[in-house]
């Protein structure tokens, strides 16, 4: 069994952060897995000249997925993710290093119910996608 020790969890506990460097290949495979043909994700001249972006745009739900992963990797076998709410506040581009992380903002030790503030942050330190996840720690 691996995962966070429920006895160590309290409001303010920080989740391990993870850097994501999404390249062309990963972004193409992600959009192919969805059947998402939006050209801003793979056609750089189109993204820049027609839509006015500085580069290829990382798909919004991929950032959402990384926040789910951040919580699940921390929980491990100690709990389950029950929900997440997030928004895509600003675009991110191929070549950027993005960081996924989170902080426990609510915990009911009796029921194991957890609330975790999660985020995707860019190199400038801006939160490009803020979110709130809910999870339940399970008694061992």
């Amino acid at each position: 069994m691996s995962g966070v020790d429920p006895a160590s969890v309290q409001v303010g506990t920080e989740l391990p952060r993870r850097e994501h460097n999404c390249g062309n290949v990963q972004l193409m495979l992600y959009n192919a897995a969805l059947w998402n043909g939006h050209r801003i994700h793979f056609d750089e001249p189109y993204a820049k000249e027609v839509e006015g972006y500085p580069g290829l745009v990382i798909a919004g739900p991929l950032l959402g997925d990384w926040m789910n992963q951040c919580v699940e990797e921390w929980l491990g076998d100690s709990g389950v993710l029950t929900g997440i709410e997030y928004s895509n506040r600003a675009a991110s581009y191929i070549g950027e290093t993005l960081v996924a992380g989170g902080t426990v903002s609510g915990y009911q030790p009796d029921s194991g119910e957890l609330v975790i503030d999660v985020f995707i942050r860019n190199e400038a330190g801006d939160v490009v996608a803020p979110g709130v996840a809910t999870a339940r720690l399970e008694a061992r």
Binding site: L34, G37, V50, N68, T82, G83, E85, N88
Partner: protein, 151 residues
């Protein structure tokens, strides 16, 4: 309020898509898990679907001539809005049951709300679409609410 939303437009609230039934396969799970950079073995091996796999499972599979020149498919659930530039979007997902290869899942999308707010640089239109995903027993597996903002 500038009154961008006509009675006719608001009458679309409650509009529902046809139910869409799909089979969860190990291969599709593996592709999704790898492409998202997942590091958990149960997902990489396709033994269980990771959170948000439903986004891929229920993305519209449209034919090439149904895609617009920018490569986007038209969402037939939505009416024509008087504002068209999409701004930020948000998702709220409830996970009720785990998803495994071999599961048949059925998604039904409902346009649940359309409303207007005054933004800093003009009016904004918000709309919400709820997707309920159930198994073959009708039990809720995932509920997802999408909120989109148009300016």
């Amino acid at each position: 309020m500038t009154g961008l939303l006509s009675e006719e437009l608001l009458a679309n609230i409650g509009k529902q898509s046809e139910p869409h039934r799909e089979l969860v396969t190990r291969r599709d799970i593996r592709k999704y898990a790898i492409a998202t950079g997942n590091r958990q073995r149960k997902y990489l091996d396709g033994d269980q679907a990771p959170p948000m796999f439903h986004v891929a499972l229920f993305w519209d599979v449209v034919e090439l001539d149904q895609l617009s020149p920018d490569g986007v498919s038209i969402d037939r659930l939505l009416p024509k809005f008087p504002l068209e530039k999409a701004m930020a979007g948000g998702l709220k997902i409830e996970y009720h049951q785990p998803v495994h290869p071999g599961d048949w899942l059925t998604a039904t999308r409902t346009l649940t709300d359309i409303y207007e707010k005054a933004g800093r640089s003009g009016p904004l239109i918000f709309y919400e679409v709820v997707m309920d995903i159930v198994d073959d027993h009708g039990e809720l597996v995932i509920r997802e609410k999408t909120t989109r903002i148009l300016r």
